[in-house]
Amino acid sequence: MTAPTEAEVEAEEQAAADRAPDLLYSETETELRDSVRSLLAARAKPEDVLPRADGSNDTGPGADTALWHALAADLGCASLLVPEDDDGAGASFREAATVAEELGRWVAPVPYLGSAIVATLVLESAGDHRHLPELARGDVTAALAVGFETAPGAAYPLTTRVSGSRAGDGGTVRLRGQVRGVADALDADLLLVPADGVPHGLYVVGTGTGGVRRTPVTSLDMTRPLCDLEFDDAEARPIASGRAAADAFQLGLIAGAAGLAAEQLGIAEKCLEMTVAYVKERRQFARPIGSFQGLKHRLADLWVAITQARAAARYAAACLAEGDDDTPVAVALAKAQCGDIAVHAAEECVQMHGGIGFTWEHPAHLYLKRAKADSIGFGTSSQHRATLATLVNLPKS
C-alpha cells in the first residue's frame, strides 16, 4: 500500500472536520436573539437591574416577574425546549443557548437557566408531562433542588430522604432534608427534588404546600440569588426512580453547564464591549486611554479568547441539540473555557474602568459577581477539565 498523498490526507482531514455540526447562528437564532435583546434593552438596563439587586427599590431579592413574563410568555422563550405535544415550541438546545447567551449580556434576573433549561429538560427526561404546558407558558417556574455548584457526574444527592410519615393520597410521599444554595428556586412554584429512598427517586414538590422552607441566601451573585431549602415532611409526588431518576438528574446538570457556558460567553462579550467603549472615551495624558498599547493588547487578547469561547459554547449547544455522542466532551470543554474567559473579561472590565469600575454605582460589579459565581455553578473549570481528562484518556497517573 502506498502512503496517501498530501491532497488525500488533506481531503480526509477536511472530511473529518466537516462532520462537525454547524457552529454558526442560524437565521432563526439571530432573530430570536434580536427580539430578546430589544426586550432586555428596554427592561433590563443597569438602572433597572441594580436597584433590584441591592434591594433599594423594595422589590425583594428574587426574579423580575414582569420581565420574566415578557420573556417567557410574550416572546415564548420558556417554551423553546418543551415538546410541541406539551404545547411547547419544540425547538432545540441551540435556540435555548442563544437566549441564555443574551441573558448573560444583561445579567438579567430571570429564572431562565433553572426553569426553562434545567427543570424543563429534567421533567421531560423523567417522562413527567403534567407541568410542561404551564412551564412553556411561563405561568409556572421550577427549579432542580441541588446546590448550584453541582457538576455533571456528581453522585446522586442523598441529603433529602423519604420520611416514615404517612404518605398523602395519590401515591405521594413525604420528604425530609435540606439542600443548600439552590439557584432560581426563590420564586419557583415547583421544586424537582432528588432524594434518597428505596430506590432513590426524583420528586416534585409544590413550594406552596406545607413543610417547605426557603431561606434566601446573601449571595455573591446579586442577580441570581440562591436560597437554602428545608423539607419537613413536605408532600412530594414521585416522578422517576432508579436509573431514570439518575439519568434525568445528570441531563439537568449537563444542560445547566452548557446553558451556563452560553451565558458566560454573553457575559464576556458584554464586558469587552463596555470596556472598549469606555477606553475610547476616557482621556488621560491628553489621549484616549484606549490608544495605550498596555490596554489595547489586553483587549485584543480578550477578543481572541472570546472567538475561541464562542466556538466552544456553540459546539456544546449543537451537540446537545443533536444528541451527539460527543456531548460530554463538548460540555466539559465549553464550561471550562467559557468559565475562565468570562471571569477574566469581568476582571479586566473592572480594572480598565479604573476608579469608576470599583464603585457600587457602575454595573461592572454585577458582571464580576455573576461571572465568578457562574465559574462555580454546575462545576468549576478545574472539575470540568478533570472530567475531560477522563473522557479523552489522559489519565492523571
Binding site: A11, E13, A17, L24, V276, V279, P288, L295, A389
Partner: protein
Amino acid sequence: MLNNTVLTTADIQAKVKEFLAAHDPKETPRLDFLRARYDAGLAWVHYPEGRGGLGAPRALQTVTDKAFAAAGAPSNDPGIQVIGLGMAAPTILAFGSAEQQERWLRPLWTGEEIWCQLFSEPGAGSDLASLATRAERSDDGDWIVNGQKVWTSLAHQARWAILVARTDPDVPKHQGLSYFVCDMTDPGVDVRPLRQLTGEAEFNEVFLTDVRIPDSHRIAQVGEGWKVAQGTLMNERVAIGGAGIPREGGMIGLVARAWRQHPERRTPGLHDRLVRLWAEAEVARLAGLRLRQQLAAGQPGPEGSAAKVTFARLNQEISGLDVELAGADGLRYDDWSMRRPAHAEFLGRDPGFRYLRAKGNSIEGGTSEVLRNIIAERVLGLPSEPRVDKDVPWKDLPR
C-alpha cells in the same frame, strides 16, 4: 456557460466525473492532467471561469479536491506552493491585469512555476511600510531594483516572486511603494540560505542588484503597493492559522500520545498543563472550523487574525510541555545539520525541534504584537498610538 445559477455539490461532482472520463488519471501524464484540470475550471472552483475556476462557492473546493483525490488523480503538490497559492494567486486575481492573470495563474496552480515573496527586509520587519528596496524607472521604461530582502522561503526554488519596492522616497512611507512580480532567474538576484535557530535553512536572504523588471510586471498602479500588500498579508494570516484538522490532529496529539505511552513520566503539574492545553487546542480547532464555516457561508470575519495569534501561542506552549515531558530524552536534539526544507514541518521531528521552530510562529506572518495592534484598531476600533512617521516623507525618517 451563463453564470447566473449557483453551482451545487452535485454539479461539481458531475463535472469532475465528466472530466475524469475524458482524462484518465492513470493514463494522462501528470502535467497534462493538471493543465487540463485548470482549463476545465476545476483547479480552484471559486475562481472565475477562464482562470481555473467556475465562479462556484468557495465551500465547493473541498468537494472538488475530495473527488479528485478519491479517483487517485495527481496532486499539484500544494505544499511547496504555499506562497503562490495562498498569497500570489489571490493578489494577482484581485489586482492583476487580464494579461498578467493569463500568464501566471495556470503554471502557478499546476506547480510548474514556484513563487516566493520578497517583502521583509533587515530594516523593515513589523514596520514593513518603511522598506528601503528601491525601484527606479529607467529610460526604456523598465524598473531597476536594488536592495536586500530577508526571510524568503522557497527563494532558492522559485521562478517568480511578489515584490514590494519603494518607487517614491519623497512621499510618506505608505504612499511611495509599488508592487511587482520579480523574475528570480534575473542575473541580479542572489539567493543565500538564512540559517535559523533550529539548524535548518527554510528561509533565504535575497540580494537584489540592478534587477531589471519590465513595467508589464507591475501589479496595480505605481504607488499602490501598500494597498496590494495588505491584501496579500491578510491572505497569509488566513493561510497560516486556518488549516482544518481532526481532534488531536495537530501538535497536541503528539503530546497526548507521549503521555499515554509513558505513565512513568506523569506528574500532577504536567497533567494540569496538558489538560488545559488539550482543551485550548481542541477549542482552537473548533474555532478554526467555525471560521471556515463562516467563509463558506459568505460571512468572512476578522477571526482569522485570532486564529493566528492562538495557533502561535498554543504551538509554543504545547511544544514546551512536550520537551519537558520527554525528560532525559528532551536533552537530546535530533539533527543540527543545515537542511533545506520547503516549509516548516513539525511532524516527523523530535520535540526539541518543534519547540524551537514554534518560536517562529509568533514572528512570521505578522508578530503577535502587531496582530494585537491590528485587532485592537481594526476590529475593536481603538485609537492608534500617536504616530511620528505618518506625514513625513520616507527619505526624512530617522533610520
